[in-house]
């Protein structure tokens, strides 16, 4: 066990833990945002640079600060390390710049994007971004590509986090898509109009932090915040069958994996559960799912709402007028 201090909060974690995971153990506001890191996917992280933190003291042995900001998702903690996240103005400034970089080629078509309301980039730009934009340049544009029967790829919205590639590498049998080209013209695509057809390919939608990969069976059906997330399960031969069913009345609009407070899926689910079972009778509903994340969806929970101080305002007004 090593002792590490993040924003003056000490915590003991196992050796080899990354700074980000140590911060997640503490929880709360000091957790750096992560757009590309996914704890369930080996090798992910280090790309989006939103989780950069300042290391004020490398370790107990070597008290020098690290010269540059480090990516907290890929830097292991050392004994006696002191990390500054929200207490360092430099980190806040840099994060603001990173959000700006992520947004300069993002189409900001949130009003027509299916991810709106549960979009990591939306949350990130709301919490860490700038209010204005400094670019007047045209954004990069890609023709829409068809990558299979269930998934729609909107390359314009992609922030190139590589998560879907790690999913395809690690969860599915065979990866048929990847990054083509390089620099700001790099794009996610299948090799020569290939089709992503795999039992677990639907997880790519859930890991996508933005609306680049969306569910074709749910597209334009409803805004996510109008739906009720419910924990549901069924007997499935391929996966655990534990999912979140997004319902409107008795109708199931879509099925996703269960996401934890950091936006990560608890378990990967199969395509049959995700796309094939949309009937109410297919599922056993366990109960409402609590969305712990700072999101517009969680705002519809009663516990997050401020209780009105006056129980019956109209009655009171009436009393007053009398």
């Amino acid at each position: 066990m090593v002792k590490v201090t993040i924003d003056n909060i000490p915590i003991e974690v196992e050796e080899g833990t990354t700074i980000l995971n140590a911060a997640r153990k503490i929880g709360g506001k000091i957790v750096p945002p992560a757009m590309c890191y996914y704890s369930k996917l080996a090798g992910s992280g280090g790309k989006c640079r939103t989780c950069l933190v300042k290391v004020a003291k490398s370790s107990a042995k070597d008290p020098r600060p690290m010269p540059k900001l480090v990516a907290s998702c890929s830097t292991p903690v050392q004994d006696g390390m002191e990390v500054l996240n929200i207490t360092s103005p430099e980190v806040i400034e840099t994060r603001k710049a990173i959000v700006e970089f992520l947004l300069i080629n993002h189409p900001l078509d949130c009003p027509v994007c299916d991810q709106a309301g549960e979009c990591d980039l939306q949350d990130l730009s709301f919490s860490h971004g700038m209010a204005n934009t400094r670019t007047i340049e045209s954004r990069r544009e890609f023709p829409p590509t068809d990558i299979g029967p269930f998934i729609k790829l909107h390359m314009n919205r992609c922030i190139l986090c590589y998560r879907c590639i790690y999913v395809a590498n690690q969860i599915t049998d065979k990866r048929v898509h990847g990054i083509l080209f390089r620099g700001d013209s790099s794009e996610i695509s299948t090799y020569i109009e290939n089709v992503i057809d795999n039992d677990f390919s639907g997880n790519m939608i859930d890991v996508c932090p933005v609306g680049a990969l969306t569910d074709k069976t749910f597209r334009f059906k409803s805004r996510v915040w109008f739906l009720k997330p419910m924990d549901a399960h069924r007997q499935c031969t391929k996966c655990s069958g534990r999912v979140t069913a997004w319902m409107f009345g008795d109708e199931i609009y879509r099925i996703t994996g269960r996401k934890d407070q950091f936006g990560e899926m608890e378990e990967f689910i199969c395509n049959e559960c995700r796309f094939g079972k949309k009937e109410f009778s297919d599922w056993i509903i366990d109960g409402p799912r609590k969305i712990k994340r700072q999101s517009v969806i969680s705002a519809s929970y009663y516990e997050n709402m401020i209780k009105p101080s006056v129980i019956n305002p109209i009655g009171e007004i009436m009393e007053e007028t009398e």
Binding site: G46, R49, T94, F101, Y162, R182, D184
Partner: protein, 451 residues
């Protein structure tokens, strides 16, 4: 003539042939190292020589070699980084083209010192002719038992393979090079783990520049102390400088580190002064990725001392008034050069070569390119200059690999030293819309001192 260590034999006709190279004393140090010396002794000699990495970073080679994980039982690899693609740098190409056996000799000694039995030369894909030259030299060395099994009866075996890259600048970054060598997309890895512990195929790997490895042979021949006596301070030995731009004699020169920059530019032996009797405006002293310096700062430091061709002297003053020796791509601009156009050109290169893995570099280089493109073509605004400086400042230090820094430094330094020119571009769009407007820019502003 100055001392020549690396290029001593370069002028001999037919030196690419094994027999001629051997006749002129070649492979003597390989014999000496393999038969008479132990790997530890070679490492000691290299450490004593004070040789610093010639690829750009200038990290002491002996120290770097000592980091190699020697406890690991996996095979070790030595990789010769010949993916030289920085604009302005062409020294490795010269070495490999004219002295392939000198490079091989260095590779054999270094591999022996590091205990590596496999060595790869990662050649830039565009160097098609070099691949043939290197392969021919390797075949000759195999025939003469300087490569292969049981070299010279010492029981040490070494195989060298030439691996051509596919034309990406980023593959010159050592971890991207390893990915590319493994057959993957050439994206830089996230460090740690460093290649010295987990490199090629997860094995301990050492990646060195061609010039660094080529210098190992002469170091063994003359001894580390003698090598360290050349040069100045911590910058020891000789360095190849590829000079280009508006000078009378562009080319690859071997200089003793510590030569004054003024001598290098104006002496007949080296660059031979500025072409057509024009005046010196600016110099990029170490390849496109290092900060540009105006004439008065390249010849003298901010403190008034003479600027020398050493790692320390060129970096004197930090990035406020200094630059870096880098990889030795010495680009000289005369008074007619337009710095904005030049900066745009460099940024275009970095925008094209960014791997697209991490967001500041991917988006930032493209953004800078667009803003500079606007400014250069007379469509910019005054606020674009501060915007550029701000973008460059945000890319710097936030990326996975040094390409982001390399893209940001030229821009921020150009704005720092030549702000008037940027302002001129914003103020006089009708003038800068002409293609050759460098001289016109010059006439308008007066603050820049020429020599």
């Amino acid at each position: 003539m100055g001392r020549k260590i690396l290029l001593e034999k370069a002028g001999i006709p037919g030196i690419r042939e094994f027999s001629i190279y051997r006749h002129h004393g070649g492979y003597g140090s390989a014999e000496k190292a393999l038969i008479k010396m132990s790997p530890a002794e070679i490492l000691q000699e290299v450490t004593r020589s004070g040789l610093r990495g010639r690829g750009g970073a200038g990290f002491p080679t002996g120290l770097k070699w000592s980091f190699l994980d020697r406890k690991c039982t996996n095979p070790r690899f030595l990789i010769c980084n010949a993916d030289e693609s920085e604009p302005g740098t062409f020294k490795d190409r010269y070495l490999m083209e004219f002295l392939p056996h000198l490079v091989l000799e260095g590779l054999i000694i270094s591999s022996f010192a590091l205990g590596a039995n496999t060595c790869y030369i990662y050649v830039r894909g565009e160097f098609k002719t070099l691949i043939g030259i290197l392969q021919k030299a390797i075949n000759e060395a195999y025939q003469q038992n300087f490569l292969g099994k049981n070299i010279l009866g010492t029981g040490y075996s070494l195989d060298i393979f030439v691996h051509p890259g596919a034309g990406a600048y980023i593959c010159g970054e050592e971890t991207a090079l390893l990915e590319s060598l493994e057959g993957k997309r050439g994206n830089p890895r996230i460090k740690p783990p460093f290649p010295a512990y987990k490199g090629l195929y997860g094995c301990p790997t050492m990646v060195n520049n061609v010039e660094t490895l080529a210098a190992i042979g002469p170091i063994i021949e003359m001894g580390g102390e003698a090598y360290a006596s050349i040069g100045k301070g911590k910058s020891t030995g000789t360095k190849l400088i590829s000079a280009c731009g508006n000078i009378n004699k562009p080319g690859v020169y071997e200089i003793d580190l510590g030569l004054p920059v003024e001598d290098f530019i104006y002496s007949k032996e080296f660059c031979g002064g500025i072409k057509d009797g024009k005046r010196l405006k600016a110099v990029v002293p170490g390849g496109s990725s290092v900060p540009i310096l105006p004439a008065e700062l390249i010849l003298r430091t901010a403190g008034g001392q003479q600027r020398l061709m050493t790692y320390e002297s060129l970096a004197d003053g930090g990035f406020d008034s200094g630059s870096m020796l880098g990889s030795g791509g010495f680009i000289v601009y005369n008074e007619d050069a337009c710095i904005v156009r030049n900066t745009w050109n460099f940024t275009r290169f970095y925008q094209h070569e960014s791997c697209g893995q991490c967001s500041p570099c991917r988006e930032g280089t493209g953004w800078m390119e667009k803003v500079l493109n606007r400014l250069e073509h007379g469509l910019g605004k005054m606020s674009d200059i501060d915007l550029l400086a701000s973008i460059a400042g945000k890319i710097e230090g936030t990326t996975i690999c040094p390409l982001g820094d390399a893209a940001a430094w030229p821009v921020s330094s150009a704005i720092r030293h030549f702000r008037q020119e940027f302002e001129f571009h914003a103020e006089h769009p009708e003038i800068v819309r002409k293609i050759n407007h460098g001289a016109l820019v010059k006439n308008q502003e007066s603050n820049i001192q020429y020599r």
